[in-house]
């Protein structure tokens, strides 16, 4: 058990006369700047953005997307609406229909309003689908577009990288 101590920060003494000329600080400051300048030649800190990109972290939260069952290629989402409930910006809208196999439901249309989505990741956490969450945080973060209506991502865009919903086999995207 230790207590936090309060300490009074010492203030530097008033400036001596020879410091009253800018020269000393100027030289000190210049030496720091020069060091960084020289280092910058060797290992630049900036990247040239659209051409060069920083690697994204595996946990990076971009815009949410949907995915399909890694083995069967079927839609994972069973319309439990947990994501809809927890979303703080109310940007998820799901229309449901009975699953063609007769068991359960599946989304007829799934809309995420990317304009409102704040990428908080709560939907992916709350998602109750088995074996992995149907909605997941992709690594997509660039979203410039011409017009507000284009931000309403529907199934075609949410299932990006997967074949059209009813047919074909899907794969879990590399995460």
């Amino acid at each position: 058990m230790s207590e936090a101590r309060a300490v009074v920060i010492p203030r530097p003494a008033p400036l001596p006369w020879w410091k009253r000329f800018f020269l000393v600080e100027m030289l000190q400051g210049m030496s720091v700047t020069m060091k960084h300048y020289l280092r910058g030649w060797r290992e630049p800190f900036t990247v040239q953005y659209p051409e060069e990109r920083l690697p994204l972290d595996p946990r990076f939260r971009g815009y949410p997307r949907l995915r399909m069952h890694p083995e069967t290629g079927d839609e994972l989402c069973n319309v439990c609406r947990q994501c809809e409930k927890i979303c703080p910006t109310l940007c998820i809208a799901i229309e449901e229909e009975p699953h063609p196999s007769g068991k359960g439901r599946r989304p007829r249309q799934f809309t995420v309003d990317y304009e409102r989505c704040c990428q908080c990741g709560l939907c992916a956490e709350a998602c109750g689908s088995d074996p992995i969450s149907a909605i997941y945080m992709s690594h997509d973060y660039e979203l410039a577009d011409y017009g507000r209506d284009r931000f309403r991502a529907q199934k075609d865009r949410l299932y990006l990288g997967f074949p059209a919903p009813p047919a074909g086999k899907g794969k879990a995207p590399g995460k």
Binding site: M1, R20, R59, L122
Partner: protein, 366 residues
């Protein structure tokens, strides 16, 4: 012979030195300030109203948007308030992890303060250097929770995930180089004649006045009051760590600068202690899936955010939505002291003072 008349001018709302959209109505006598009237509300988003209409779990992302330079601190006080309301005990490992992240957030936030404060006063170089280090903090946060600014990094009952592999090593590497970096900033500023002339004796406020005005955080500690929530109302496991609370002796802008520099070092010290003694165990306490605190429950939870005392008051009415959420924002209360601080100074000093009370307008307007 000469006659001066008072002049009223507007500074802001779109002014680079106001750190957002703050409008100051200045009444000037020549270049001396007679009165400052802050006009706020340009960034008001009604977070308190919004929170009343969301479930308890869905409010955390909203708190990110209050103080966007220190989103973790806001998450922390909100989540802590809900835990207090429910009587949930956070597991020790989650507590230590929260401390690590909170202190990292303090470093990141003080770095951005240093950058912008320096820029306001005219020290351009420091801006780039401090941002470079802050970038590393943000990288660490990205590695932990996946976002760089609006973290949503906490859940009611603990933390959502473990530190990823290699994260603590990366954090240690960052902490290893931090002291040399801070020393570099200090070379550029602490003894610098221009810096000292611009900050020493500017905005002196004595402890009584500062306390009465509700100033908290480094702004209050500059006046020599050691009020720090981490010490006086310890939350998480701050009791277990040894750290200093720097306080100033004069209460001017220079003191507040020195305090924040020292706080970065102390935060580093706390993180190192916390990493050393990171307990094992669960990271999330058991909390009911649907959070419905009983009717009449009220809780107040205070945390020490980088800007001061950030606290949340929660009132429950027995439903799954909070009945009333009050965000006590340090910036709102600190900005209240600006008229007192800036009386009698020059217009150029107002810029230094806004920087030294370290406000974020998202937090002021909520």
């Amino acid at each position: 012979m000469y006659q001066t008349s008072e002049l009223e001018i507007n500074m802001g709302p779109q002014h680079p030195a106001t750190h957002g959209v703050l409008r100051l109505v200045l009444r000037l006598d020549g270049e001396t300030i007679v009165e400052v009237k802050p006009v706020i509300g340009y960034l008001h988003r009604g977070v308190e109203k919004l929170s009343e209409n969301r479930g308890y779990r869905s409010v955390t992302p909203l708190t990110d948007r209050l103080d966007y330079c220190a989103a973790f601190a806001e998450n922390h006080s909100y989540v802590g308030a809900v835990e207090k309301l429910l009587g949930v005990e956070v597991p020790p490992r989650a507590q230590a992890m929260r401390v690590v992240l909170a202190e990292l957030q303090r470093i990141a936030s003080h770095l951005i303060w240093l950058a912008t404060h320096g820029l306001d006063i005219g020290a351009m170089t420091i801006f780039l250097y401090a941002f470079r280090e802050r970038e590393k903090c943000l990288d660490l946060f990205e590695g932990y929770c996946g976002a760089r600014l609006t973290y949503n990094a906490l859940r009611i009952g603990g933390v959502p995930q473990e530190f990823p592999d290699g994260w603590t090593e990366a954090l240690r590497r960052f902490l290893d180089e931090l002291p040399t970096r801070i020393a570099q900033y200090e070379t550029l500023l602490t003894g610098n004649r221009i810096w000292r002339l611009r900050t020493e004796g500017v905005g002196v406020i004595d402890a009584r006045t500062a306390l009465g005005l509700g100033l908290t955080g480094p702004t209050l500690r500059g006046s020599g009051v050691d009020y720090d929530v981490r010490k006086y109302a310890p939350y998480e496991n701050y009791r277990d760590y040894a750290f200093d609370i720097p306080v100033g002796s004069k209460g001017d802008t220079y003191d507040r600068y020195l305090i924040r520099m020292e706080e970065m070092r102390q935060s580093r010290r706390i993180i190192l202690q916390a990493l050393e003694a990171l307990p094992d165990g669960p990271i999330l306490a058991k909390v009911a899936g649907r959070i419905r605190p009983p009717k009449g429950a009220e809780a107040y939870f205070m945390t020490e955010s980088p800007r001061g005392e950030m606290s949340v008051y929660l009132v429950s009415d027995g439903t799954d939505k909070p009945y009333r959420v009050r965000f006590r924002s340090p910036c709102f209360n600190n900005l209240q002291g600006l008229p007192t601080l800036s009386k009698g100074h020059m217009v150029a000093d107002v810029v230094a003072l806004i920087g030294s009370i370290d406000i974020v307008l998202g937090c002021v307007d909520r």
